[in-house]
């Protein structure tokens, strides 16, 4: 049996469903990521697995044992797991005391605790911080301490609830590396929640997309990214150009889809007349001032209605019958002199368009 098995898990709050139909199997030593937008139920799910809350219905099997059926305070089961929350949580006291906490709770003596804490301090790059008051640490440092505290008792299952959500990029990197290292070196099964698609891709071998309390897609993160299997998931993984249309022509593997007044060529075997959702990635659209360059099958002419600068990249909104969001570099904006009201051509390959039949 899989190390962690969720069967028909359901969590209700009054009439509302927080989680529904959750069925999932995670193997030992896997690094599994749960991706989903804020409010999708990630925290609820992790709390259930950690036995902090009890599900309305369904079962959780950990290493073969039905954890949900346990009577009384399931402390032995809880001690096989550890959890790190989004907001770094440290107790009053020193860094040493924080990291030593799980061992103290399990009744270990100071003699045994000391070397383990100090070696972990080295691992997380906080050597010599033992005596520091934990509350004086920065967010990134505190989260590293929380992580160390989570792994010191050698849990079999490590649960992380958006551990890097509030941290600076450097700390994010550190934490990610530590999680990967712990997973590899100690063989800890890791279930990590995040809303960051890229983070999921960096860390996990498998991911599950949680939206509005339901697991809508499970698989390799890159695959999910490339081929979301529903409009919902597509929207979440960053495919912002989503349109509904109908196939009006099809020839040797290329279909033409009518979306409002525009026609888009896509790669698809679906028959004519079928209603479909089509998705294009903003970064797969190329802008040009004249319509002559490029071999892309799709060329749409339109007008720039807005430009949003997001770091080194810019999102350009173009109205060409359909509203297209196009991702370009800041340099391109400069070089092409892009501005609002400018007439522009958008082109993209037929192969870049994802097509999903409407169910």
């Amino acid at each position: 049996m899989a190390f962690l098995k969720l069967v028909n898990l359901e969590q209700r709050a009054g009439d509302k469903f927080l989680l529904r139909n959750i069925n999932l199997e995670i193997e030992k030593s896997e690094l599994f990521v749960i991706i989903g937008p804020t409010g999708s139920g990630k925290t609820t799910l992790l709390r259930l697995i950690d036995l902090l809350d009890h599900p309305s219905s369904g079962n959780i099997y950990i290493d073969g044992l039905n954890a949900t059926a346990l009577k009384g305070d399931p402390i032995d089961m809880r001690r096989k797991m550890a959890i790190v929350f989004q907001k770094p949580v440290v107790f009053n006291g020193t860094v040493f005391e924080n990291i030593a906490y799980p061992l103290k709770m399990r009744g270990l003596k100071t003699k045994e605790i000391k070397p383990r804490v100090h070696s972990l301090l080295d691992t997380i790059g906080l050597s010599g911080y033992g005596r520091r008051k934990a509350r004086t640490l920065s967010g990134g440092e505190a989260q590293r301490v929380a992580l160390a505290r989570a792994v010191i008792a050698d849990p079999e299952l490590l649960l992380l609830d958006e551990p890097t959500a509030n941290l600076d990029p450097h700390s994010v990197k550190l934490i990610e590396e530590m999680v990967k290292a712990f997973n590899k070196s100690r063989g800890v099964t890791v279930v990590m929640a995040t809303h960051d698609m890229q983070q999921g891709q960096r860390l996990a071998s498998r991911a599950g997309v949680l939206m509005q309390g339901e697991l809508v897609q499970v698989g390799n993160p890159a695959a999910i990214f490339q081929s979301p299997d529903s409009a919902r998931v597509a929207g979440f993984v960053g495919m912002q150009n989503v349109y509904r249309g109908r196939i009006v022509a099809s020839e040797s593997g290329i279909a033409s889809v009518q979306v409002d007044e525009s026609v888009i060529d896509v790669v698809s075997d679906l028959e004519v007349g079928k209603a479909v959702d089509v998705f294009v990635r903003p970064e797969d659209v190329v802008l040009s001032l004249s319509g002559t360059t490029g071999s892309a099958r799709n060329k749409l002419q339109g007008v720039i209605t807005a430009i949003h600068i997001t770091g080194p990249l810019s999102m350009v909104i173009v109205d060409c019958g359909l509203v297209l969001e196009v991702l370009v570099t800041g340099k391109s904006v400069e070089e092409m002199g892009l501005k609002m009201g400018l007439e522009i051509f958008c082109s993209f390959k037929a192969a870049a368009v994802k097509v999903l039949p409407v169910k």
Binding site: R78, F91, N92, M105, A153
Partner: protein, 229 residues
């Protein structure tokens, strides 16, 4: 107003000369109230923890009742306890009335609401994630409650100091339950009350200054210990 200055001078004289009767009364005040706060804390901090962390019907009502009893009039507590421990009362067999033990009992009952209620306040002010982290880190339910009490310790110790202050400054229960017996149950507050009524204002003031001094020293020492840990 002249008496204030004289009182201060007298207070210093009494302390410096280690006047035996003043020392005896002061030590008794300390001992009685210290015993009361220790007993009350041992009961009320865990009970406060239990109430805070469990949900049950009437929890809100219970907390309101506890808070109402914060300002129990001391004479009322004295009267109630008197009726119980008088030899004619149900607990008369214990022979507690007119002994220091009776005063301790009265003060324990007096400060239990404060200690319980403020412990609940202190604990509810601790973020839920602390509890989740403690449990998630492998603590048992009672280990987790203790961890949270430690997190809230400033507020909890504040409650203890407040309780001690109330105990050592009250006179109603001490008078009724102790009887102000010279050499046996006379404490600073009952002595002050007696001397004031007898017109010995300077001596009263001196004792009052000593009482305030004791309370201040305790407060300072406890705060230093808190900072250290």
């Amino acid at each position: 107003m002249q008496e204030l200055w004289e009182g201060l001078v007298q207070a210093v004289k009494l302390v410096v000369s280690l006047d035996p009767e003043v020392i005896e009364i002061s030590v008794r005040s300390l001992y009685v109230s210290a015993a009361a706060i220790l007993i009350a804390a041992a009961i009320c901090i865990p009970v406060g923890g239990l109430i805070n962390f469990h949900d049950f019907r009437g929890k809100r009502v219970l907390i309101n009742v506890i808070q109402t009893f914060y300002s129990l009039p001391t004479v009322v507590v004295g009267l109630f306890v008197f009726l119980f421990i008088s030899r004619a009362g149900p607990l008369g067999g214990m022979g507690l009335l007119f002994t220091p033990g009776a005063i301790i009992l009265g003060q324990v009952i007096l400060i239990m609401p404060i200690l319980t209620g403020m412990t609940i306040s202190a604990l509810s002010g601790v973020d839920r994630s602390i509890r989740d982290t403690a449990l998630g880190a492998g603590a048992s339910q009672s280990q987790a409650i203790w961890t949270i009490i430690k997190e809230a310790r400033f507020a909890v110790v504040g409650a203890v100091i407040l309780g001690f202050g109330r105990a050592i400054s009250e006179v109603g229960a001490a008078m009724m339950l102790g009887g102000n017996i010279r050499g046996f149950t006379r404490v600073l507050t009952t002595a002050i009350s007696l001397y004031t009524q007898e017109g010995e204002l300077v001596l009263s003031l001196a004792l009052g200054i000593i009482l305030i001094g004791i309370a201040t020293v305790i407060n300072v020492v406890v705060n230093i210990l808190l900072q250290r840990y």
